[in-house]
Amino acid sequence: MSLTEGSAIDMLRLEAQVHSAVSSVDDPEYPGISIVDLGLLETIHVEPDGSTVIGLIPTFSGCPALAIIADDVVAAVQEVADVSTCTVDWLSSPAWHADRISHEARSCLERKFTVAVQIGQRSTTCPLCASKTVEQSMFGPSRCRSVHTCTGCGETVEVLRG
């Protein structure tokens, strides 16, 4: 099927397929959690000739995983039939915030990784026992995570924030 004279419906279908392909890319640090659910996807532009530009935003400007994520996105999108080329554009705006993380991704981070998400300055609760957590170190194993301990069960809890 060629989209050079594609109908509006064909274009919408293709965009949906591209969106689905981007959604299939997981964050390198959290296997099983899509970059779309983490709030990295900002724009998708598909031209009638199949050339595609994916606009992403980084969680933090110095994130060392950006090149890996971009490569994974290009590889996934190029698998879509009717996509001719794909490039990733790291956008300078907007700035990422933790409230861009979807509800599903938050639950998965809690269950699978014992990671709590902090929105703004709000207090965080332990993913295991729901007690309050207390910050032990403002910076943790990566730039976007601090280290807390649970006041209830004593578990170490990583807190994703931004």
Partner: protein, 248 residues
Amino acid sequence: MNEISIAARDVILAFVDDEHLMGQQHTEWIGVAPFLEEDLAFASIGQDELGHAAMLLEALVGTDDADIDALAFYREASQWRSCALVEVTLPEWSDTLLRHWLYDAAEELRWQLFQGSSVQLLADISVRALSEERFHRQHGDALLDVLLRVDDAHDRIMASLHKVLPLALTMFDGAPSEADALVEGVISGSLISLLGDWQQRVDHRFGPVDWDQIVRPVLSQRKERHDDFAPLLARMLEVLDLDRTVTW
């Protein structure tokens, strides 16, 4: 890129070089900071500063790695626009901690100069940088809150403050074309215009400083380098020079 004028390039480069060298200096404490939390903090804060430098470099030359490296690493020393505060090697941890606090107190103000920039990209980048910078400020303050309450730590911090302050004043030296950038609306104020706000932050944090007693550095519009610059750059190039074509 077309929309970046010569004057804009000049003030952006001053920020790039400060962020780049500050980031490098922070990374040199990874593994040797006095305790694990500081190791992690300096790794993360350094990563942010290097990220800021990278964003600004991309604004100047685009996303090609070779172009970025050429500008970021392979200029003559006289073409750098960094200030002495970020060029100097500080082997004492307390001096480094003070540099971190003093630098970030000014860095936040510097990003605010870009907030309404006529160069939209700079205005955009400043929003992200400012949201990251508050973590740096919180970190420096949280640690100082504890240390300044302990007698001997307090004395060491204050000694370091007076040692680092003259160097910190070099941050407010404007690049040669700064006045033109101001007219073009690239920045909303000169670096020296931030000095008063920054001094208030210092006074508020450490108690009133007798600013008349602080030795004023000789300013060169950022054209001259501190003696520690050459060895610092050599350390930065040590790995890159093994093979400049390799992709990391």
